[in-house]
């Protein structure tokens, strides 16, 4: 398809594919991953049964592949191109677990700390994923890292809050162990109660990875009752912690959970395992506004938990001081769930209530006269790129930095903080970030032959196997998800569209024969007479007018014969390589984009 424009004037500026950000953005999953995990490459490695390499590639950016393969928030999946192609993203997270489960002996590929230290000492407060990542990145460089942790075990919320039926302790122990075994000086049972003292303790830098440790209170009438520490009203994250450390082993039969985020999901499913029979998760708003991940909601409902929408708590109902129920307003919402109307009141009876309405940051141990500035919401002022606070030697990351997020963000903060700490200790400006670079390698192996599997596989998303319901509640710690079978893995890896194998265009070679345009199965290519047009005016002239403004349009240099330009809408390309196969002059090539991500002390190392 060709389309018109105005002669004479210049066409819109050509896309700069030399900027790594362009091709990076095409790899939707990698772009969406806070740590930029090279998803398509690890999926191909799994497809080739090279699980150890797939694991190590993951570990390079996300540090905890076995943990994340079970628990990650998966921002990559809603971004996945496959979702736009057949409605379901590739099961990226579950494949990560396959790599971890089958990794075999990867010891040779794990980081090691040198015997000679560089003389710099770093303190980390808290042993959650953010601090552990800082240690992971700095120990191999010769830093001496000391972690202060108030609990008796490492892992942060991964240990204390993520229930063992989702994340078994041995899985956590193993990956955390790899880091600690490099010789981290970890001090358990050591709550830091003064930053001033810490700053005076001779460390070259301090990293705060203390999380968002306080569960939100619900101050409604009846909260205190006769007993301000009512043993039947629990703060979700504290309650989960008590289970993790063995202090709580039972709950009443009828349980109301207030809130419908991921914490609520863990609370209701834990209740089910501790004796709860009639468990209701009480939500203020309609279902489409829930914060919980859809797969967690599904699992909870499968386990018999009832999810009740449009109920806003009013008061705790007591009889003779004893908690007997909670009164709710039953509400009705407008379209955007911005305004509500109360329809009636109901009292739901219960034995226990669990409050799961969010977490707050708290820094009672940070003296306010130290010069560490705080902004709104009890959050410290922090540079989001360098993770540096207003005190040059104090860095912060994970939930402590910007409020409750997730593990993968904590890891990415840890990586960036480690780069900054390394700069700081070497007297390099922390703002001086090592650049992201890329490697491009042609995938051509011969005529119509590629070193990747370019055929589109119509397989649908493979379902996860779960432990039978009847067995789940016998023991608290039985993992529910059983992982993919070999068959499911083999099918699922073929669903990946290899978005990192890019269509790379060399305008001077094009003879405008239209072969690529004719063969493209998604009609995403057009040669346009674009003289005098702005990029925004190209849409209606394309073979398929673009529908997804989030995705880039590639615009080539003017073509030699007519001065028109090649335009590609990146949105629907399935990376099948047919354009490159049909091009008589090899103006299109399929090249593998390999983002070289820098870590502390290391420039980016591309994997291939």
């Amino acid at each position: 398809m060709t389309a018109g424009g105005d002669g004479g004037a210049d066409p819109p500026a050509a896309t700069d594919v030399g900027n790594p950000a362009y091709y990076h953005r095409v790899v939707d999953c990698q772009w969406a991953c806070p740590a930029h995990t090279n998803v398509p490459e690890y999926i191909r490695l799994i497809g080739q049964e090279r699980y150890g390499e797939a694991y190590l590639l993951n570990r390079q950016s996300n540090v905890f592949p076995a943990i994340l393969g079970r628990t990650c928030d998966r921002p990559c999946e809603p971004a996945c191109r496959r979702q736009r192609v057949d409605g379901d993203p590739v099961a990226i997270c579950r494949l990560k677990r396959v790599a971890a489960d089958l990794r075999g002996d990867v010891a040779a590929g794990l980081p090691r700390a040198p015997d000679t230290k560089n003389g710099r000492r770093i303190a980390c407060i808290g042993a959650g994923p953010s601090s552990l990542t800082v240690a992971n990145d700095l120990m191999p460089l010769g830093y001496e890292v000391t972690i202060f942790e108030r609990h008796l075990k490492p892992g942060g919320l991964m240990r204390s809050n993520i229930p063992a039926f989702r994340l078994p302790a041995p899985v956590l122990d193993e990956e955390v162990g790899v880091i600690l075994d490099m010789g981290v000086d970890i001090r358990y049972n050591s709550p830091v109660d003064s930053l001033r003292q810490m700053l005076g303790a001779g460390f070259d830098a301090v990293f705060i990875g203390s999380g968002a440790p306080r569960g939100k209170e619900l101050d409604l009438p009846g909260r205190g009752g006769d007993d301000p520490d009512d043993p039947h009203i629990h703060i979700g994250i504290d309650w989960l912690e008590s289970i993790a450390f063995g202090h709580v082993t039972a709950i009443g039969e009828r349980v109301l959970i207030i809130g419908v985020g991921n914490t609520a999901m863990d609370c209701c499913r834990s209740s089910r395992r501790l004796g709860g029979r009639d468990i209701k998760v009480m939500a203020r708003r309609p279902r489409r506004f829930f914060k919980a991940s859809p797969w967690e909601l599904e699992d909870a409902e499968e386990e018999g938990v009832e999810i009740v929408v449009n109920h806003a708590p009013r008061r705790f109902v007591r009889e003779g001081g004893r908690l007997v129920g909670v009164e709710f307003d039953v509400v009705e919402w407008d379209e955007e769930a911005a305004h509500s109307r109360v329809l009636e009141q109901v009292v739901l009876p219960c034995d226990d209530v669990i409050l799961a309405i969010g977490q707050e940051n708290a820094f009672p141990w940070v003296e306010r006269d130290l010069g560490l500035e705080f902004g709104p919401g009890e959050l410290p002022v922090v540079n989001p790129v360098t993770m540096q606070t207003s005190l040059p030697e104090v860095f912060i990351g994970g939930d402590a930095a910007f409020g409750a997020k997730n593990i993968i963000w904590a890891v990415e903060h840890g990586h960036q903080a480690a780069i900054s700490i390394d700069n700081h200790c070497r007297q390099v400006a922390v703002e001086e970030r090592p650049p992201l670079t890329m490697n491009l390698t042609s995938q051509k192996m011969g005529l119509q032959q590629w070193s990747y599997h370019n055929d589109y596989n119509p397989a649908s998303r493979q379902p996860m196997r779960h432990l039978e319901l009847s067995r789940r509640f016998q023991e608290l710690n039985l993992e529910v998800e059983l992982g993919f079978t070999a068959e499911a893995t083999a099918r699922e890896v073929q669903r990946c569209l290899n978005c990192d194998v890019q269509t790379d265009f060399d305008a001077p070679l094009c003879i405008e024969c239209d072969a690529c345009i004719d063969i493209c199965p998604v009609r995403c290519l057009t040669i346009v007479a674009a003289a005098g047009l702005e990029p925004a005016q190209l849409g209606p002239l394309l073979s398929t007018p673009p529908t997804n403004p989030e995705q880039a349009l590639f615009i080539s240099e003017p073509l030699p014969q007519t001065g028109r330009v090649m335009v590609k809408d990146e949105n629907l390309c399935v990376h099948c390589g047919l354009c490159a196969e049909r091009c008589p002059t090899a103006a299109w090539d399929m090249v593998k984009f390999d983002l070289a991500i820098p870590y502390a002390g290391r420039v980016g190392i591309p994997i291939s």
Partner: protein, 351 residues
């Protein structure tokens, strides 16, 4: 041939035509032609034209001879009828098919060798008969399939890949058509679908013989320096002066068409062809004038493209031959073959 077949992508936003069909419903097998061959672009243009015309695939008959061009009916409309005839005989087979079943949309695909070398006689008589069909010559100036010998459309002085010059005069199918009384003559370029698709639609809609000469570079044997049928040569010498729009009988007429100097010609079924930005005074219905104009332009080394000549007033083969309105295929056997007694009496009449 590509390593994989063109995949079907489930969520692709697909346009549907009046029959509810998608472009994919007009596709055929994967092409085995050389990558970059102009013929493949013509295939894509045909698919688009069929789709836009909402032709029922099973009512299309694809006919061809021998050559790379003649292989292409395998690459579109796989649900249509097809006949791959011997070299140069497609026009004749098409005449028979049309006589037998006039309900079919006949689309002939041929090459310059198939039509202008070995098959010239057959083509000439199909033009004279005004067989109701669209007849495409995918013109690359060479016998592509047999490795690039000059064909009858090669220009004097055009050089082969080995460097020899062609010494023989070319047959220009448009000039030939004008002299034989053709009723629809157009020229297109495989590298310009914006122009080619409306021409193909008009050719299919034309009642009578629609000859479309399409310059279609052979990337393998005739796309080099010194060739007069290369992509580069066409881009330097094409005179896209007679732009064409085809407006189907039921299609909404959208803006932009009412340009200055546009000439509209209404076709038999009420569809219209708009000749846009035609040169001053150009009358696409005046055979003499068109011939003089083309002669002048060709003399200047220009290759004029567009729908060049159209005459809707002539009778087509069925009208001349007084064939029954529903075609021979619909006649009961007793009428088609009335038996020996009837033959006897007929022969008696001749004695």
């Amino acid at each position: 041939m590509p390593s994989i077949t063109k995949p079907l992508i489930p969520l692709l936003p697909l346009a549907r035509n009046e029959l509810g069909l998608t472009m994919q419903d007009y596709q055929g097998g994967m092409s085995t032609l050389c990558a970059g061959c102009g013929h493949d672009s013509i295939t894509a243009a045909l698919i688009q034209a069929f789709f836009e015309l909402s032709l029922p695939p099973h009512m299309i008959a694809k006919l061809s001879g021998i050559g790379c061009s003649s292989k292409t009916p395998a690459y579109f409309a796989s649900r249509a009828h097809g006949f791959n005839s011997v070299h140069g005989r497609m026009a004749t087979i098409a005449t028979g098919a049309g006589a037998a079943n006039r309900e079919l949309t006949l689309v002939g695909v041929s090459g310059d060798g198939d039509s202008l070398s070995i098959g010239l006689g057959n083509l000439a008589h199909a033009i004279r008969r005004n067989v109701n069909m669209a007849y495409l010559i995918e013109n690359n100036g060479v016998y592509g399939l047999t490795k690039g010998q000059f064909s009858a459309s090669a220009d004097v002085g055009s050089r082969s890949r080995r460097g020899d010059s062609n010494l023989l005069q070319p047959v220009d199918p448009i000039m030939l058509g004008l002299s034989l009384g053709a009723t629809f003559l157009a020229r297109g370029f495989s590298g310009d679908k914006a122009q080619l698709v409306p021409i193909l639609k008009a050719a299919v809609a034309h009642r009578g013989f629609a000859l479309v000469d399409i310059i279609s570079p052979c990337v393998q044997f005739n796309d080099h320096e010194g060739s007069t049928k290369s992509y580069r040569y066409m881009r330097d010498h094409e005179l896209r002066e007679i732009e064409t729009d085809f407006i189907g009988q039921h299609e909404e007429i959208v803006g932009s068409l009412a340009r200055d100097r546009a000439t509209a010609v209404t076709m038999h079924d009420g569809a219209r062809v708009q000749f846009r930005t035609v040169p001053e005074g150009y009358d696409p219905k005046d055979r003499g004038q068109v011939e003089a104009y083309l002669r002048e332009r060709t003399g200047r080394g220009e290759i004029v493209t567009g729908l060049l000549f159209l005459d809707e007033s002539q009778q087509d083969m069925h009208e001349t031959a007084l064939t029954p309105p529903n075609g021979l295929a619909q006649l009961p056997f007793s009428k088609l073959c009335p038996g020996s007694a009837e033959l006897e009496s007929f022969q008696d009449g001749l004695r």
